[in-house]
């Protein structure tokens, strides 16, 4: 008896050590980037154009570029993603077709980001002659975020009790009226959470925009959707690997801005989720 409990105690200690080994590097990564990067952050760094071969000045065009790309991704991905989720949650029956859709979603989620980049280059940049442009990059990122948006939105729609739909139908509402006025508003917080999670993934990705949007160095703001643009993740890649003699603090500064952008979106998603979960009346 004694021995069994001793083994159990040792085992639990081992498990908690493993959890620590997982957690401590996470804290270390975030902590290091915050500490080393915060020195680089200034009003000028955030709002000025880069100068002197990007070694001085700011990263304004990269920040704006990432924001524009994210908005473009949202415009393309939200209608398709939410529509797809509505189909799966409200219309689809368990048929071979539906299973094919589910398999497609799982596969889209698993395709390597650099392969999305190849696809965007092949379809949008070359075949459709968009050139390396914001629109080519946004569409590429949108297809990449679809599986995240669809699966979270579908889950949110399915969480709405069936009675809501039954009551709507009993009042003479059509199926779409029930979805539009009853189910969608109830599922909205969950859908928004999913959309944010998808978009923050898109905002942080580098490989899909390598050959579809990115400008190495472009000290001006984009003028049209067919313009190239700088973007934060690609900028970090460029200054940390392609530009010799780049001040380390600037590199950490860019990493910090990117990390802060992505993690703050993450926090917003979490807050929306928990706030509405508490307020929900069913």
């Amino acid at each position: 008896m004694q021995r069994r409990m001793l083994i159990q105690g040792l085992g639990f200690v081992a498990l908690s050590l493993a959890a620590l080994v997982v957690v401590i590097p996470i804290l270390f990564v975030v902590g290091t980037i915050v500490v080393r990067g915060s020195g680089a952050i200034s009003w000028e760094f955030l709002t000025a154009m880069p100068s002197h071969g990007m070694k001085e000045g700011g990263i304004f065009p990269a920040i704006v570029g990432t924001l524009i790309l994210t908005v473009g991704t949202a415009l393309a991905a939200i209608p398709v993603g939410v529509g797809g989720a509505i189909y799966l949650a409200e219309y689809a029956r368990d048929s071979a077709f539906t299973r094919a859709i589910r398999l497609a979603i799982i596969n889209l989620a698993g395709i390597p980001s650099v392969v999305y980049g190849l696809f965007g280059l092949g379809l949008f940049v070359l075949f459709l002659h968009f050139g390396t442009s914001i629109i080519a990059g946004s569409l590429t990122l949108a297809i990449m975020t679809l599986p995240i948006i669809i699966s979270t939105a579908e889950e949110a729609l399915r969480a709405v009790p069936t009675e809501f739909r039954t009551v709507s139908a009993s009042l003479g509402g059509t199926r779409w009226q029930g979805i539009r006025h009853i189910v969608l508003p109830q599922a909205l917080p969950g859908i928004i959470t999913g959309v944010i999670l998808g978009l923050l993934r898109a905002a942080g990705e580098t490989a899909p925009i390598l050959f579809t949007v990115s400008a190495f160095f472009l000290p001006r703001l984009p003028q049209s959707p067919f313009d190239q643009t700088m973007a934060l993740p690609y900028h970090l890649y460029v200054i940390s690997t392609q530009v010799p003699g780049m001040p380390l603090q600037t590199q950490y500064g860019v990493a910090l801005v990117l990390l802060a952008l992505v993690l703050s979106l993450n926090v917003v998603a979490t807050i929306i989720r928990s706030y509405f979960r508490r307020r929900r009346q069913w």
């Binding site: 996470i26 392969v115 190849l118 599986p147 990705e205």
Partner: protein, 304 residues
């Protein structure tokens, strides 16, 4: 809804309903279309390489595009070496963490652990690559006394942490799905909590854990930026034991590093898309295998 003939408002509504349903149906099927479209366009640009380059060259051991040598073997093996090593590191850590969270951790520890793992999942791969390059690589170099810290092992280390969030959350779901009666039966037999975990719960969750490993592998093999920045990018065959501690090149990194400098429509261009086709097929198969048990469960339990 009762519909009178000639009732124009109702007719209009019916058409509207029909239109909306058609649009939603199309959006629902669009994902299948996208998968096909991706495969089609990869083949369109990459298919040519399988005709332009001799099979013996393509399956060769040397990747030197400037000398028309397109041997993909070192790249495929490089990807496999880094991926398998990463999973070998991540699986014990991830499984132990999932068990800790599900079975052992007090609520406060769970409240800290889960958001932190979510933070890890949210860190962009280029940031982790940057971190790996500036801090982990020098550490590896000094600890192991190597000429450079940019090695396959460093890449695997960074990849392991990138695969962890997927591994942990899928393994957690698998542990969660074990019926409570299994645990009760163990308790009734006088087993300790530890014995129940290892002899009952983990074996019962085996298929779910396999899924976690597959999905983690799919994530790791497709990872691009971090791997490219950390592994040192030398396309060589990883045959000797010291392969872990030398620079290494993966398939994804090759595409990302070389696509920018390549002439569009040339053999090298087609070869990079050809690697894309291989990656697509590999991840497709991995995800198919991972999804198989999910579909089986669906069929048994019914979709809704």
């Amino acid at each position: 809804m009762v519909l009178k003939l000639g009732d124009s408002a109702a007719a209009r509504r019916r058409w509207f309903e029909f239109g909306i349903e058609a649009i939603i149906r199309v959006l629902g099927f669009s994902t299948v279309g996208f998968v096909l479209l991706i495969f089609l366009f990869l083949l369109r640009e990459g298919g040519a390489v399988f005709f332009e380059v001799q099979p013996a060259n393509l399956l060769g051991t040397r990747w030197y595009p400037t000398f028309d040598l397109f041997g993909i073997l070192p790249l495929v093996l490089g990807s496999l070496l880094v991926t398998v090593t990463a999973i070998a590191i991540a699986l014990p850590l991830g499984l132990a963490t999932a068990i800790f969270v599900r079975e052992v951790a007090p609520p406060w520890a769970r409240e800290i652990l889960k958001p932190l793992v979510e933070v890890l999942a949210g860190i962009p791969s280029v940031v982790l690559g940057f971190f790996g390059m500036t801090l982990v690589a020098p550490l590896v170099r000094e600890a192991l006394n190597l000429p450079t810290g940019l090695t396959a092992f460093t890449g695997a280390l960074v990849l392991a942490y990138m695969a962890l969030p997927t591994l942990i959350s899928v393994a957690e779901d698998a542990l969660d799905a074990i019926p409570k009666s299994y645990r009760d039966a163990g308790l009734a037999l006088g087993a300790t909590h530890w014995q129940i975990i290892w002899r009952v719960i983990v074996p019962a969750a085996r298929s779910g854990i396999v899924v976690a490993v597959m999905l983690g592998m799919g994530r790791a093999i497709g990872e691009t930026m971090a791997v490219m920045m950390v592994t040192g990018n030398a396309a060589r065959m990883p045959l000797a034991l010291d392969a872990w501690f030398r620079p290494m090149r993966t398939m994804t990194a090759t595409i990302a590093a070389e696509m920018g400098e390549v002439a569009q429509g040339g053999t090298h261009f087609h070869a990079l898309f050809g690697i894309g086709v291989i990656l697509f097929v590999m991840t497709f198969l991995i995800n198919l295998a991972a999804a198989a048990p999910i579909f089986k469960k669906r069929r048994r339990g019914g979709l809704r």
